[in-house]
């Protein structure tokens, strides 16, 4: 085995080793999820060397430099967001918003049947993706590549577009009811769609053909997520259950039963070992992927859990509730670490910044709020929207925010 070179992964922090083995180029990652600006880099290098034979004495200093770079990145804190621009994006309310990986472009979906591609810096419209005959609800870039866009519509179809030219490559037809969630696999070879017709489907990006129909739910499929390597898909349904599917075969691996209300969101953690689910039953559950067992029920909210997510490293879980509060839990101890209080209405969306130090929430009180994960204090109230905020997102650097509202506009903050 011969080490060829290093790659740095900022979020979640890690070092990717590219090495040669029997003439083949391979790679593996050293995950450094516990890294903080306070970590002693020399000690960390020593720990890495104990378990990683590829890091020889001569490479040690190089690794230390990489660790310092990662720590430098983590040190960028106290960024205060300023309102930059309001885009009168659509003639009807917005649905979802999404960034590409760099954050230089973003997407908005709308009740006006279009999806628009925007330039973040200038706020100009790059493309208007027209062709759907009903609400454009679910949208995504094929990150990290960012050269394609998928749109899922209430017209029962999903369309695949070029992000560069705005040309429609394929229309995926086959669902018999509204498409309400979708995702690209990490390799960008497949699109998964979930529908009110109680099924999910996998589509080939290249050919536009249906690859698999994931049949088994008895209620609407309203959330889905690929794991980090793209081998499994998790779907959440209004039938109160969650299913885990093997992507290659289209077979159901597990049915996660335990919630007593509709599922509102599902997500894998970074190392694909856990799934978190939120439900209208006011709880959030944590499941072990290998066994399909429920390992924890986080029952602290007084009303429906409307959104749930892991931070990128998978250490923390954030939950948003109709009770107007959000909470942060430890993914390992399952303890509630902080409660985020201040919104004057239901919180319908929640996300971490890629660094895992901040949380962004969107509420029916017409504001989005930025919170400090450690202390739970509200750092900023992003106000100005004149109606409920449906969606919010950070870019990969964590220095830009977009919010999408029922008031037909979106706002850029950085």
């Amino acid at each position: 085995m011969k080490l060829k070179r290093f790659h740095l992964r900022y979020y979640p922090p890690g070092i990717i080793l590219e090495y040669e083995k029997k003439g083949c180029l391979r790679s593996k990652s050293i995950d450094l999820f516990d890294l903080t600006p306070a970590t002693n880099p020399d000690e960390l290098v020593a720990v890495i060397r104990q378990s990683e034979p590829l890091i020889t004495e001569s490479r040690a200093n190089q690794v230390k430099q990489l660790i310092l770079r990662l720590q430098q990145k983590q040190g960028q804190k106290n960024h205060r967001f300023c309102f930059i621009k309001e885009l009168k994006a659509h003639v009807l309310p917005l649905t979802n918003v999404a960034f590409d990986k760099s954050g230089s472009r973003f997407l908005t979906g709308s009740y006006d049947r279009t999806c628009r591609v925007w330039d973040t810096a200038s706020g100009t419209e790059l493309h208007r993706l027209e062709g759907h005959s009903n609400v454009v609800y679910a949208i995504a870039f094929n990150n990290p590549y960012g050269d394609k866009v998928a749109t899922g519509s209430f017209d029962k179809t999903c369309k695949l577009w070029s992000a560069e030219t705005g040309v429609c490559f394929h229309t995926f037809c086959g669902h018999t009811a509204e498409i309400v969630c979708l995702a690209f696999n990490p390799q960008s070879t497949l699109v998964a769609t979930g529908s009110m017709d109680c099924t999910a489907k996998l589509w080939d990006v290249e050919t536009g053909e249906e690859v698999a129909a994931l049949i088994g739910h008895t209620g609407e499929v309203i959330a889905l997520c690929f794991n980090t390597v793209g081998s499994q898909l998790v779907t959440g349904s209004f039938d109160h259950s969650v299913s885990v599917w093997d992507v290659a075969s289209g077979e159901r691996v597990h049915t996660l039963i335990g919630h007593r209300g509709e599922i509102t969101n599902v997500q894998f953690n970074w190392d694909c070992s856990l799934i978190v689910t939120g439900s209208m039953d006011t709880t959030c559950k944590l499941w072990e992927v290998v066994s399909g067992e429920c390992v924890a029920t986080l029952a602290e909210h007084k009303e429906e859990v409307l959104d749930v997510c892991f931070d990128l490293s998978g250490q923390l879980i954030a939950t948003a509730s109709a009770d107007g509060t959000a909470r942060v839990f430890s993914a390992t101890t399952h303890q509630c670490l902080v409660t985020l209080e201040g919104h004057g209405g239901e919180i319908s969306k929640i996300c971490f910044n890629p660094q895992g130090s901040r949380i962004l929430t969107a509420s029916s009180d017409k504001t989005a709020r930025l919170w400090d994960v450690q202390s739970g204090s509200c750092l900023q109230v992003l106000d100005g929207h004149t109606d409920e905020i449906f969606s919010c997102a950070f870019n990969y650097e964590g220095d830009t925010i977009i919010t999408g509202s029922k008031d037909n506009t979106c706002r850029i903050w950085y």
């Binding site: 003639v91 009807l92 979802n96 509204e178 009110m196 209620g219 209004f238 429906e304 969107a362 029922k406």
Partner: protein
């Protein structure tokens, strides 16, 4: 609950839930009517740029009412909301005689829509609190309502402002849903 509430109300409604579509020209009083139904404050209502959804309990039914903006530029998007509609409520400003022709045309187009075929229609002759309001009988005649034969229909005079006539209209809605389900 944000976008989830839209999905929840979109799904095929169980027996006791009724999906009602509230349409009509701009400034007809749809949002005032919706708020009156939900017993909410009606003093500061601005033109609806998108839609409002409210659930109201009435006579053992859960009425999910979708109020869609009526401005000309957003009327083409009404059809986004047609699917799974149980009852259509069409609101007319009875005092705005200049626009009777326009409102009649929009209604006729709605009744021609395939996705709304057979859906019972209630016409609210709203703003009866105004002195210049045309009576419901005159509007019914002007719109040729008596030629509607492919569905149940009803015209009800009302004032969304005072609440007068609204309960009678909603009684008809529940009755028509009952007889449709039989």
């Amino acid at each position: 609950m944000g976008l989830l509430s839209i999905l929840r109300k979109l799904k095929s409604t169980p027996d006791q839930e009724v999906r009602i579509l509230l349409l009509g020209l701009d400034n007809g009083g749809k949002t005032t009517l919706l708020k009156q139904l939900a017993s909410e404050d009606i003093s500061h209502i601005t033109p609806t740029q998108g839609f409002n959804i409210k659930s109201v309990q009435s006579q053992g039914f859960k009425l999910n009412v979708w109020d869609i903006g009526g401005q000309r530029k957003i009327r083409p998007y009404w059809r986004n909301y047609f699917e799974n509609t149980d009852v259509l409520i069409y609101v007319i400003d009875s005092a705005d005689r200049k626009r009777f022709e326009e409102t009649g045309q929009e209604l006729a187009e709605l009744l021609d829509e395939e996705k709304l075929s057979g859906v019972p229609v209630l016409i609210f002759a709203n703003k009866q609190d105004l002195l210049t309001a045309a009576p419901a009988s005159e509007i019914a005649e002007g719109l040729n309502l008596h030629t509607i034969r492919d569905r149940m229909w009803q015209i009800q005079s009302c004032s969304a402002l005072t609440g007068e006539g609204i309960q009678e209209g909603m009684n008809w809605v529940c009755k028509s849903v009952n007889s449709k389900k039989k």
